[in-house]
């Protein structure tokens, strides 16, 4: 059986009568090739709009993470990342492509293992344990009647994913609280006001907001997530570090153009 996808064949499914028969088949297929065996866990995903870090994290890394959680696989286990990218929507060069590659390194950092991209594999690879097929777990087709991110409540998935991100990037995990005023000895000091063309956080009103917030005891910083550091793991690490210090996150909707992330970052807030 061959599963077809709009962008080409995805995978072949062949029935075997037993594990032994399957192993025989595999050995036959691989005889004479220099196939590489990849032991340990591999998580597969099929990213498409991942040039935007918001989509990279919550359309692809999130379902992959959740798929693993749903299977009860110990989250401390490192895993390899297998990306199926039959065709890049924005071509094989240029700034969008560069961002895609940068965000693929972020996927790899989250897993902690190696990164494999299907159309770049020069020889056969045998992945021993693969988690795949989580596809639409966070996508629009999955919208449930309570209108929640899949697994966000039931599995405490949003916070677990947040913690996994902080851990992968070496940033201290914000405290888990049962009440919002718990362990707030230092008060509630810091807020982030995100620059985003969608709601026009531009001068002069951003500076007015900062001044006004100060009268209420909030130290509001205006942040531009696209500034200073090029896309990639280093940028995300720095952003997580900033987010881990903030209590209040103010932004407009959506991800905004380019690699700006805006609304999606709220999910990794403490």
């Amino acid at each position: 059986m061959r599963l077809q996808h709009a962008r080409g064949p995805v995978l072949h499914v062949v029935r075997h009568r037993s594990i032994r028969k399957f192993r025989e088949h595999l050995e036959k297929q691989l005889a004479g090739t220099d196939a590489r065996h990849v032991p340990d866990l591999t998580v597969a995903m099929e990213p498409a709009w991942h040039n935007n870090i918001g989509h990279a994290l919550y359309d692809y890394a999130w379902p992959a993470f959740l798929g693993r959680e749903q299977l009860g696989i110990n989250r401390t286990v490192r895993f390899h990342t297998l990306l199926h990218i039959p065709r890049r929507l924005y071509g094989d060069s240029g700034p969008v492509y560069e961002r895609e590659r940068a965000h693929e390194r972020i996927f790899q950092t989250i897993g902690g293992g190696e990164l494999f991209i299907t159309n770049e594999l020069a020889r056969p690879h045998v992945f021993h344990d693969v988690v795949l097929g989580h596809g639409l777990v966070t996508d629009e087709e999955d919208m449930n009647v309570n209108f929640t991110l899949a697994g966000g409540r039931g599995l405490d998935g949003a916070r677990r994913f947040r913690d996994a991100l902080y851990t992968a990037f070496g940033v201290d995990i914000p405290p888990h609280r049962k009440r919002s005023d718990q362990s707030r000895d230092g008060g509630v000091g810091r807020g982030l006001l995100v620059e985003n063309p969608t709601h026009r956080v531009v001068h002069p009103w951003a500076s007015i907001a900062v001044a006004r917030a100060r009268t209420f005891g909030v130290n509001l910083s205006v942040v531009n997530w696209n500034a200073h550091i090029p896309p990639g793991p280093d940028r995300l690490r720095e952003h997580l570090r900033i987010l881990s210090t903030a209590d209040i996150y103010i932004s407009g909707p959506g991800t905004a153009p380019a690699s700006c992330i805006s609304n999606y970052y709220r999910m990794v807030l403490c």
């Binding site: 209108f147 026009r200 209040i248 709220r266």
Partner: protein, 217 residues
């Protein structure tokens, strides 16, 4: 604490939402989300956003429990869409199955509801499905009125047909109105309370006081 300012660069209808991806906030019960409707960019917006930051700080220090209750992290607009969907799609005796997929159903409701989807899927880009039931504008309006009546501060109306005029007014007023969601559910399941005869929709336009940022929390 999250504050979603929405999109204040264009005008939205009374039942449209411009917050996007609300399912993410609703699916993160270790966070609390607030929604504000802001006038177009101006100095007054800066003041309002500063006040919102202060309100968020007071809420945090006031101490709310986490995980936060279901539904509290949705905007009023999406709360209303959810109530509307449950009322129109569910079997009255059994309710709506938790496994009912929403995408097609919501498209049938003819609500312009991009926040129900990730942003690259816009239901408005697809033609309405002629097999769907017609929309029920009266029900929608009734739910909106219920919400306006129930959610303090009294007199501030999130849903009303006069939004277009209000928008025009907002452009000119020095101290614009701030509408802030406080997470109450619109049209709670299980039937509406008896309609109050005096519960007129708020008067369009001027004279509405600006509410406290905490609202009914």
């Amino acid at each position: 604490m999250l504050i979603n300012l929405g999109d204040n660069t264009r005008r939205y209808g009374p039942y449209e939402s411009d917050y996007m991806d609300e399912f993410m906030s609703e699916g993160a019960p270790h966070l609390r989300a607030l929604y504000a409707r802001l006038p177009p960019a101006s100095h007054a917006v800066g003041d309002l956003v500063g006040e919102l930051a202060g309100a968020a700080r007071r809420l945090i220090l006031g101490g709310f429990e986490m995980p936060v209750p279901e539904g509290i992290n949705l905007s009023p607009t999406t709360t209303l869409a959810k109530a509307y969907a449950h009322l129109t799609l569910a079997n009255p005796s059994t309710g709506l199955s938790g496994y009912t997929p929403w995408r097609e159903k919501v498209r049938c409701m003819n609500l312009r509801a991009p926040p129900l989807f990730t942003h690259h899927v816009d239901p408005t880009s697809d033609p309405p499905d002629s097999r769907c039931n017609a929309t029920q504008p009266c029900l929608l309006a009734a739910l909106g009125e219920d919400f306006n009546r129930r959610v303090p501060p009294a007199g501030l109306a999130w849903f009303h047909e006069g939004w277009d005029e209000t928008w025009a007014m907002l452009r000119e007023r020095v101290r614009p109105m701030l509408l802030l969601a406080v997470g109450k559910r619109a049209g709670a399941k299980g039937g509406r309370p008896p309609s109050r005869q005096g519960g007129r929709p708020p008067r369009k336009g001027a004279g509405r006081p600006r509410g406290s940022a905490e609202g009914g929390v």
